[in-house]
Point group: D2
Chain length 273, copies 4
């Protein structure tokens, strides 16, 4: 899968940028090639958060225009979908997974716990229950661009019944946490025919001892995404966090699914995408 | 039906009280006898709001203890329940009824409209739809004393799934408004075995050209209530609105259903009460 | 003052409209001429709410385009500004004014009461205190079109520190109510150089035994407005409440301050505007 | 300083507990002695989160009563208060500190940023600004037990103007984040004369290249606390997170400041802890 992402900003003064736009490296993704171009050329620093695997790009830019171009080719191992994956009882959850059951800025699982119990508490646990959550969100939340803002939370979305991919993922993962299923947000590059190119957001639930990806917006197959960053909710995985007087001028994150190449297949034999 | 209501307050200084504790007079209620006692004796003023029929009792009290005893015997005409009552199309609604479709402090029908549409929009209209709303509220909201406060709104109750009678009524009437069914709150005396005596709150929906009463808490039969006041939501029908440093010390609104007496029925029309 | 208001809607089906676009009649305004034109011509009904003086225009329209043109010439008596007007103690407030101290959908004076006390409780009461409230709102709230929506409340505005004229008025009147000063919203035609023509919202506080108008947005002199409607908050004075599938296509409420005419002056001698 | 903490729970079934009640180990605290007693005796596991230094105690208990007694003697190095400590410009902040500027469940610094700018943006930066924030919170927020719940956020506290120590700390640290000053919550044992023994919450701001502790509630000197846990907000440092049907029966976290001992003072600086 080939990623081409261009971002442009207009700066009225010095700004500090923290980007999360590089493809994550890990067991399910292999970087084949990668290129980063800044215009004007500026010193930058990258570092990887050990725990999340997120690859931060940090830089300081001055008044004027900042353009950033990122190109990567990524092999993605097919997701091992296990429809029979059970929920893990809380006492058996690994220590480092526990905090993914806590409420966060956009995911008030403390407030929505009773709703989650009413809607999904009586269902069989495991993959089937998380799928039922995704179905409910897909059926009850209207995908509508502009219906939410940067401060909209899962509770808001539950009440107003509309949102975008990030809101779909927030609400679904909030329900999971309300049922003591650890869940986290994943930002990604995805290929949409419609709407125009944008970053995508999905979520992962901890089932059967590993993280499994779900997309309640059903906008793109989850094995045709390129994973960017993983976090508690959207504020942890923002593609750009900016300190200073900058406006985004344009954004174009494009994912194309390439035809499988022989050398790629060698690295990840089972790859369909 | 016999009402005996005692209220006691401790005042740290001058306070202005506006009470709504007197049985409403109107087509469905007839006052047989009524008595109001203030301790210490204080001048007071009563007036009836022409539009709502609410009977206000207004007085000014000074530092110390204020006790109020209200006694009344009321005949209540049996509610004409019409299970086939249809909704009235908006263009046929009387002018003075229109504003009962607007959102209010505790009833954000603008926010909960999409939920109301999802849950009840496809059901047959009229009495059956309002009954379905009451059933839903009764099944999904947990009656729990202390789970809400004076500032809790219908949206809060919809999310937290718990409340008391007032919250049940607020949520149900908010759904009605979200479906363009005019609805309003009614405060009342009711007879409960459990919990201890308290004022009750139910609501009315405008169906088939008149107001019909519903109690989504199902705590008391709606024809065994004594109606106090009617309003847009709880702030309009508070049994006491107080300006000044007062604390309620005790409250005991008791309703007893008397055996029907022939002489009562005979006297009802002539009473000045 | 001359009002020319044009509204256009696109309807996908039958719609019921309730407009509040006609100049109010009352002690401070005299209608000199008035004209209402509907395209297509449709039957309509007007009625005046006795209590508020609001002049409702109600009609049913069918799929297609609806255009409405309203023209009026209005004389407005100069507002008697009384900088020494005192607050009226609660026990001396007229009964019908009391409910303008209650919280409403957009004006949570119950929640913002403690803030109002902290900010303004120690100031001298009366006109000076309400002026201080307007100053505070003007200084702390950023006028920014698009920063609020139809569901934004005074609390939201207090936190986010931005809004439009309606939000300025809501916040200021909420502070008044939190201090036991009755206050209500007024919609109006106003003349702005900037931004483009729109309905205006100001508020009135009950001081010295009468309602006095304030504009915390300071967008137009309060004696160069034409009053439309008065209510508890914005939902009571919406220029259009629509039931059905309609979209507003254009809106152009224009106020021009005419040169004083001799015959007008005869009716309201002191008029500058 | 000597800590004696007893907790008792009644369990209706199996429960998983995650406690954060052990004194933190680090540069400013040295454990002299420590004892943990469970009744009934149960297997438990402790682990330290490398990043935060929090010492988790995790265990599974069965229906019945669970009692936990914790005793520790801790030396606390006097806090190096540096009144001249400057704020660190964002571009100079260490990577691992950045996320303490993000909004969290209880600290909506995105929403309260404009308020923080208005109130404190024009003040000189550094320790003086954070002190001014603490002064403001102390002066404007009323300490009132019972005025907030487990779901109360900084925004709620800012509006309602009341709370307990946790709310004071949340609001102050939210203002810091709104000004791009990294800030985090700290739970602690403290010695109060009044109210009765409870866990305490304070916060730390990142100034002059290190974390400095502040207590906007001013309930206890910050150098007479024993630090328990550090996190983004209260949900990260809860003294007990419980999964299952348990009720707390009693709680008694007591801190006594022991007379300084010569040998302790002598050893404190050299200890590896």
């Amino acid at each position: 899968m080939q990623v081409d992402c261009s971002l442009a900003y207009a700066l009225d003064g010095d700004c500090e940028f923290v980007f999360l736009i590089q493809a994550a490296m890990g067991t399910d993704q292999t970087l084949v090639e990668e290129e980063l171009l800044l215009q004007p050329p500026l010193p930058y620093r990258t570092y990887t958060d050990e725990r999340s695997g997120n690859r931060f790009l940090r830089l300081r830019a001055h008044a004027g225009v900042l353009e950033l171009h990122y190109h990567a080719v990524v092999d993605r191992a097919a997701d091992r979908v296990d429809l029979a994956a059970p929920e893990v009882p809380v006492h058996a959850l690994p220590d480092e997974v526990l905090h993914f059951m806590l409420p966060t800025r956009y995911c008030e699982s403390d407030l929505l716990g009773p709703v989650a119990q009413q809607l999904f508490g009586a269902l069989p646990g495991g993959h089937a229950r998380v799928s039922a959550i995704c179905d409910w969100v897909h059926q009850h939340i209207d995908y509508r661009i502009g219906s939410t803002t940067a401060t909209t939370t899962a509770r808001d979305v539950f009440v107003q019944r509309s949102g975008v991919c990030r809101d779909f993922a927030h609400l679904a993962l909030t329900f999971c946490r309300g049922l003591n299923i650890p869940a986290r947000l994943v930002s990604a590059y995805a290929h949409f025919d419609e709407p125009p190119p944008d970053f995508h957001a999905v979520f992962e639930a901890y089932l059967g001892g590993r993280w499994m990806m779900f997309d309640p917006s059903r906008m793109a197959p989850v094995d045709q995404l390129v994973r960017l960053a993983t976090g508690r909710d959207a504020k942890d995985v923002a593609f750009a966090t900016i300190y200073g007087p900058a406006r985004m001028v344009s954004m174009s994150p494009v994912l194309n699914v390439l035809a499988a190449r022989a050398d790629t297949i060698a690295h990840a034999p089972a790859l369909p995408g």
